[in-house]
């Protein structure tokens, strides 16, 4: 490189630097190092230490005997997802330690639909400027999600992108890899008439529909910092006088959640329990299909797991719609059809099982901590999801 280039033709005498363009390399490097201890907390023995490496290393068959007993024909399963504009709600509230859990949830819940066990997670975080505290909180959430779902946070990228993201804004993307034994890989052809559809309760809105959620909040002047009794989960609602009294305290209601907190509730991670459940049925073909209920709602996700010669018939009276959905519908004057197309309305994950095992599987999942409803059945049909 020429040592001191002439300035002919240049309209600038100011010396430009990367920092003046909004990117401070030193700042970013020191942050990246500080994340390593958070990531290490998610490492099992299958992760190969590779400090300063360009990529993460993971040993699938760390214990050869164990691995080859479980996997004769291992198939890698991979998926990618973000959390949509839930990041915008998190940014508005200045709460950054839960969207990482959402990010892992959106990915591992997709992965387990194929019968897979999650192994590896990586995250992409894009920000306008490096705010260490915010980034550390996000990555802590990601690591927490990884611990909950039993996968290693093997790597990630923090992209410093002034101009693309406005101050306070950010985006998240996640990527998950797992493994499934070929003949146990779930596919729609297994589902047959007579099977029962079990619905696992969601923890709230999860990570879809937030552009509409935020539109309702803005349009109707709802206050994210206020406690709305009728938006709280039923178990947290109080009766009569106490409720009115606590509303006045505006968020300091003996721990009652503000609307913002209710809306920011992390997406439930089903991975741990579904993987445990499947371990009980290594030989028997008992679980015939699964579905993660995300954007487009119950019907449009469940239909992906139904073969062309069957219908799933769902009875929406079999589970309670959490109050937060009714609250948003009322305030946004949203039609029933739109609600069903956008939100999970209380069911976050479906497991389709052989009828003879339905009760036992429901009990096992409940023992593991899930709330489970028998929401429908599979009949002969045309590959549709219908309502009873």
């Amino acid at each position: 490189m020429p040592a001191d280039t002439s300035q002919n033709g240049s309209k600038s005498r100011t010396s430009l630097t990367y920092a003046s363009a909004g990117v401070d390399i030193n700042e970013k490097d020191s942050f990246t190092e500080s994340l390593e201890s958070t990531m290490r907390k998610t490492f099992g023995p299958r992760v190969i230490a590779n400090p300063g490496g360009f990529a993460g290393l993971f040993r699938l068959d760390y214990k050869k005997g164990l691995f080859s007993r479980n996997y004769k024909d291992p198939v890698l399963v991979a998926c990618c997802d973000g959390v949509g504009t839930k990041v915008k709600l998190a940014a508005d509230m200045g709460v950054f330690n839960t969207v990482g859990i959402d990010l892992v949830a959106m990915n591992v819940n997709d992965l387990i639909v194929q019968g897979a066990e999650p192994l590896i997670f990586l995250d992409y975080i894009a920000v306008p400027t490096v705010d260490k505290k915010m980034l550390a909180a996000i990555v802590e959430g990601v690591a927490e999600g990884c611990k909950q779902s039993g996968c290693a946070l093997l790597g990630g990228e923090t992209a410093n992108m002034p101009d693309v993201y406005r101050p306070g804004d950010f985006d998240l993307a996640g990527f998950c890899v797992g493994v499934v034994e070929l003949k146990r890989a779930i596919n729609p052809t297994r589902v047959q008439p007579g099977d029962v559809v079990l619905g696992l309760a969601s923890s709230g809105i999860h990570s879809n529909g937030y552009s509409l959620v935020r539109k309702v909040v803005e349009h109707t002047g709802l206050d994210l910092g206020k406690v709305y009794e009728d938006a709280l989960p039923r178990a947290e609602q109080q009766s009569g006088r106490t409720a009115k009294k606590s509303k006045k305290k505006n968020g300091a209601n003996g721990g009652a959640k503000t609307l913002g907190q209710v809306l920011l509730t992390p997406t439930r991670i089903y991975a741990g329990n579904i993987v445990k459940l499947q371990r009980n049925y290594r030989v028997k073909n008992v679980i015939s299909g699964m579905a993660h209920i995300t954007g487009s709602g119950l019907a449009d996700n469940l239909v992906r797991s139904i073969p062309k010669n069957c219908d799933a018939v769902i009875d929406r009276a079999t589970w309670p719609v959490p109050p937060v959905f009714t609250f948003l519908q009322k305030h946004g004057n949203i039609s029933d059809e739109e609600m069903k197309r956008v939100f999970n309305l209380g069911i976050g994950y479906c497991v389709i099982v052989r009828k003879a095992f339905a009760e036992s599987i429901k009990e096992q999942l409940e023992k593991l901590g899930e709330s489970v409803f028998v929401i429908g059945e599979v009949v002969k049909g045309k590959g549709l999801v219908r309502e009873r």
Copy 2:
């Protein structure tokens, strides 16, 4: 769900929909389907068809005999990266079919540093609204990058995020998974004094430093649509009169690249050639280290591949700095130190090899189409990269 909820307490009588909040589910679904044929072009026999699935399936040991001959202790390798604010330049120019190549390049070039062979790629595209033409162009670029690097585009996510992204803006993240044999996994402890550092030419700025690039362009009033003779690659520069004449044509210079086109040149993908090279040295320990030169420049990336008891001594006179860097330095009045810290300055990838094999490896890489320079050597030291 209540059929017709009362509007008590609601300030809105307008019925809100997801589409009115900027998200059209139907639009997105039809687009997703149209992408499948683009993705299928990258599929090899190891990809298991899974239409409508929640995750992609990939069979690592599709040919058991071949796989077990090459891999006794297979290790999964995974990484994640974006293309930084090069997306902003692409958006400004309205050219969307090359940033996907950049995205794959940034990931696979990281992955091969560990000695790995890329297998699976997934992309995350975030946009304010679904613009099918733009999204199709992006995914075509991603698929092209996957073909160049021999990996399958197994899945991806298109996130529709009004409010986070301004009209015209977008972001990209990519994830790559590969496999390496445990004892062939490259790590810094292999490098030893006497080794030679080979530098592989970059195709231009690649995908780092674009916040500074764009700052220079804006600050000095450079015109992205104009041909600047001194920004063109040397092979494309014309001499004397012809050059002056063609400048006047302002972009119609018999195909001469505009500044915008020079800046948008896709990142070179080294994966194919590096994987081929490594196949020639399955037994011999000839390649001792590698480095992908990204953000922070040559020294700060090469140092990650140097053990604590060695230094790499680089002679910057051994390769030509491409004109685009000198052009930007001149116009932005950027210091030499800053240029070295931000840009690759002509070397996009390093291969550290045993001295006895350096000439042969250089020739092999050149036959495969790389421009290769002997840029330095490894000596006893303290884990630093120094200049001669």
